[in-house]
Symmetry: D2
Subunit: 283 residues, 4 copies
C-alpha cells in the first residue's frame, strides 16, 4: 500500500528522525522524502512517500498512533493519502476550450491521475467536449441576481459528487466566498498574466498597451482577494512589437493550458503545500 | 560610408518605394531594411542601413534633398547616423558593480561599440573600476538639499563631454526632470523586476513576499513616471520556495547585467524606436 | 487582393528599390517587407506582403511583367501567393494523438489558416479523431514489402487532393524518396530531440542515458538524409535526475506539439525560405 | 559546527531512518535532507546538512562510528565536509577572459565560497586579471613535445597548493590522463554547445553550418572521453538566420560564463553526486 504523508509544523530539532523512525518501526519503506524549512516563518514542511505491506498495516491504528506520538507533541498539521485513491476533480469552464481539451487529453492518456465526476459551465458551448469524453456536464447559468442560488447549486453538486478539488479552466465568473471557504487551497485557477502584473480583466490588452516584451500565465489557488492567492506555477513567452493583441492571445493560450495542467498535476500528486499565502512545491 | 537612417511617420502607401528609390538614386546600396506599421496608431517605422561611395556623397546635400523630397511630404521624423561615428555614452552608478563590470568588459572586448567619456557616481566605491579601465570618474554626492545643484553639475558634464545617451547601471537615485527633458529616450535604466510587476523600491523583497515562481529584470527608457518608461528588453528566471531573498538577489544580478547590456547594445546599434511609450525593436 | 511574394536571388545593389518601385507602379500598397542577405553565400531573400485593387490588377499580366522586368535580369527564383487561397495540407500520423489534436484544434479555431483535405495513417488508431473533426481518413498500412505500393498510393492521394504540403505529425515511417523529390521543402516533420543531438530512433531514451539537463524538439523539412533537413523551429525544456524516461516522454509531448504547430503556422504564412539546407524564417 | 554528508549506496529499506536516527543520537540537528533513488540502477543518494554543538562533537569518533554502524552494513560510499572549510579551487585558462572574470567577480563578492590558490594558463594574456584580483598566476606553456612535463608540473602545483578541484574556464588544451585519474569528478569544464550536439572543436561554426535555431553551453566533469563526462548544467539561447557566427560567439559567451558559474557553485556547495556517468544535482 503506497501512501503520501504531508506534514507542516513549527520547526525544531529531530522531526525528520522521529518521523522516519516511526514509519520504519511500522514496517514502512520510505520511497521518497522531501523537506523544507521556511526560515523566516520557522515552519517545517515534509512530504513522504512510503510503501507498506497491505496485510500487516492497520490504517486506523497507524493514524491514531501517528497523532499521539508525533502530530500532537510536534503540533503538526498533517494528512495521509492512499496513492490508489484518486482525487476527484471538478472542472469549471465558460466558452474557451483550450484548457479543457488539454486537461482532458492528459486525463484520457493516463498522465493526469484523477477522477473527473463532472464538468460545470455557465454556458453550453463546451457541452460537446464533455460528451466526447463521456463526462457529465452541468449547465448553471449566472446572472446578476442568481449568484446565491448558483453558489448553492454548485455546493450541492460538489458535495453530491464527493469532489476533492476544483479547476477553473478559464471559468469567467467570480467564485463565491462559501466555495472558497469550504475548499481552501482546493480551487485552482489559471490567470492569463504573470501575476502580480496585470491582475483582473483583459490582461493581454493591458500587456499590449504597456509594451512588455514578455507575457505570462499564472496558476494559483483561489482566495477571497482576486488573483492574489498562492501561486503554484508560472511561465512566460517572449513577444515583440510585431505581435498584435490577437497574437498575444494566441500565444497566451499555449501558455495557459500548459501552466494550468502543470499545476493540476502537482496538486494531484500532493506536491503542493500552502503557508502564508505562498506555496511549497515539491517537484 | 555606412549609414543608418531611422524614420517614423503617418502610414501611407508608397513610402518604402519612395525611400528605397531615393537611396538608390543617390548611389546608395541598401544593406538592410527593417520596417513596421503600428496598425492601431497608423504609424510607419523604418530602419535602413545603406552603403555610399565616400567620394561621391555630399552629406549636407543628401540631407537637404531627403528633407525636401521625402521628410516634408510624408511628415517624417527622421535621423541619419554615420556608422563610424560611435555614440558617446555616460554611465551612472552607485555601489553595485555587476552591471558596470559587464558593460565595461563588453566595451573593452569591442562588442559594445560606443565611446565612454565618463562614469559618474554618488559614491566613491566603484572609482577603482573606472581606474582599471582608464575612464574618467566623477563623484557627485547626492543629499536631500543638493538635488538642484547635482542636476546642474550633471548637465554640465553631459554637455561638456558631448554625451549622446546615458546608462543607469544600478544608479540608486531618481534622475531629475531636466535631464529627462533634455535626453528623451536617451536614458536607459535597469529595473530589477519584470515590470509592471514590482515597480519601485525593493522588488526582490516584494517578489519573495508574493511567492512568485519567476523573477525578472527590465531595461527601459527613463520618463517622468518612475519605472513606467518604454520597455526595451526583459528577461526572467525561475525561482522556487527553496530560494531565499539573498538567492533572488544573486540570481537577479545575472539577469540585470545581461538585460541591461542587451538594451544598451540595441540602442547603440540604433535598433530602437519609441512611440506612444512603447518601443519598436529591430533586432 | 492581398498577395505574398517570395524572392531569392544573387545579392546585388538596387534589388529592394527595383522590386518596391515595381509594386508601387502596379498600384500595389506594400504592407510588410522582410529581407535578408546571407553574406557568406551572397544570396538575397525577400518576402513582400502587398495589397492590390482587385478591379485593376491583371494577375497574369503582372506575373509576366514581373518575370521580364525583375526575375530574369536579377536571376530570381520567386513565387506569388494570393492570401485568400489557403494552402492544402495533408497530415500523416501513426498512433500518437497529441500533435494531431493540437493541429486540428488550431485549425478548428481558425488560428491555422489551411485546408486539410485528408489525414493519412499506417494504423487505424486515430481514425476517430478524423471523424470528430469531419476530415477524410485514409488507412495505408506499411509492411516491409509494401513500400513501393504505399508510396504509389500516397502520391496518388496527394495529387488527387491537390495537396500543397504535408505534415508528419509523429508519423513513424520513413517517407519515400519520390515523395521527397516531388515535394521539396514541403514535408514538415517533428523530431523529438534538439537536433543534431539524438537523431534517429528513441531520442528520449538516449537523452536519459546521456544524462542531459535539457531536452528538446525540432521541426524540420524532410530531406533524403534522416533528421538532417533544414530546421524550422526548435524548443527545449529543463529536466533533472528526478525525471524518469516516462517523464521525459510526457514533457517531450508538450514540446513536440507546440514546436510542430509553430513550424506549420510559419509555413502556412509563407514565412519560411530554404537555402543551403538552412531556413530563413521571417517571423 | 555545520556539516554536509554525502552518501550513495545500494538502495534498501530503512536507510533514511537509520541515518537520521544516527545524526539525532549524536546531537545533530538536520537542517536539510535531499535524497534520490536511481530506480534502474537501484542506487540510493543522500545529502544531509546538519548542525552539531562544537563542544560535544568528537569528529574522529563520529566518523569511526558512522563507518561501523552505517557505512559498512549499508555498503555506503560517503564523505563528510565541514562547511567552514572552503574547498580549494584552481582555475585553468587560455586567452578568453569572460569566464574567468565572471568566476572572480562572484568569488570577490562572496557569492562563490571557495579559496583560489592559483590561476594557471598556457598563455600570459590573462596574467593581468590574476594581478587585479591578487591571485598567484602560473604560466605553463604547452607544446607538442612538452605534454608530459606540463602534466608533471601541473600535478606538482595542484599537490603543493592542496587543490580540491579544478575549473577549466575555456582552457583550450586537453587535460592529461593522470590529472583526470587523480581528480575524478573534480575537474569542471565548460563546453560551448548543448552536448551531445557539437562535441569537439568549433561548435559555433558547426551550429551555424547546421542552421540550428538554438545554441547552448554545457558544463560537465572531465573524463577520458572528450566532452562526454557527466553533465552538471546546461542552458540555451535562441538564434536566427539574422545572426552571424560572430553573433553566435558573442551570445555564447554570455551562456558559457553563466552555465560554468552555476556548475562551480553547485560543486562548491557539494550539491553534485556522480553515478554511471550522470549527475544527481540537489539544487
Amino acid at each position: 500500500m503506497k501512501t503520501t504523508i504531508l506534514i507542516h509544523c513549527p520547526d525544531q530539532s529531530g522531526i525528520i528522525s522521529a518521523v522516519t523512525g516511526f514509519i520504519h518501526a511500522k514496517g514502512g519503506n520510505i520511497i521518497y522524502l522531501d523537506q523544507h524549512v521556511a526560515k523566516q516563518a520557522n515552519v517545517f514542511f515534509m512530504r513522504l512517500e512510503s510503501d507498506f505491506d497491505d496485510n500487516t498495516l492497520n490504517l486506523e491504528g497507524f493514524k491514531n498512533e501517528f497523532t499521539t506520538s508525533l502530530a500532537t507533541p510536534y503540533q503538526m498539521q498533517w494528512s495521509l493519502h492512499l496513492d490508489d485513491v484518486l482525487p476527484r476533480m471538478a472542472i469549471f469552464v465558460s466558452k474557451y476550450n483550450h484548457c479543457l481539451y488539454d486537461l482532458l487529453s492528459r486525463y484520457h492518456s493516463g498522465e493526469l491521475k484523477a477522477e473527473i465526476p463532472f464538468i460545470l459551465s455557465n454556458h453550453t458551448d463546451l457541452a460537446y467536449i464533455a460528451e466526447q469524453f463521456n463526462i457529465p456536464f452541468y449547465h448553471i447559468p449566472v446572472t446578476k441576481t442568481s449568484k446565491n442560488e448558483v453558489e448553492e447549486r454548485q455546493l450541492e453538486l460538489l458535495k453530491e459528487h464527493n469532489v476533492d478539488f476544483m479547476v477553473l479552466a478559464r471559468y469567467m465568473q467570480i467564485v463565491g466566498s462559501r466555495l472558497i471557504d469550504e475548499y481552501p487551497n482546493k480551487i485552482i485557477n489559471i490567470h492569463h498574466s504573470f501575476l502580480p502584473a496585470f491582475a483582473g480583466a483583459k490582461p493581454y490588452h493591458a500587456a499590449f498597451e504597456r509594451g512588455v516584451k514578455i507575457i505570462g500565465a499564472t496558476s494559483h489557488y483561489v482566495t477571497e482577494e482576486l488573483d492574489a492567492g498562492p501561486i503554484i506555477e508560472q511561465d512566460v513567452t517572449a513577444v515583440s512589437h510585431t505581435h498584435t493583441i490577437q497574437d498575444f492571445i494566441a500565444k497566451g493560450r499555449d501558455l495557459e493550458k500548459i501552466v494550468l495542467s502543470r499545476a493540476v498535476k502537482l496538486h494531484v500528486k500532493r506536491k503542493t503545500m500552502v503557508y502564508n499565502n505562498k506555496t511549497v512545491i515539491f517537484s
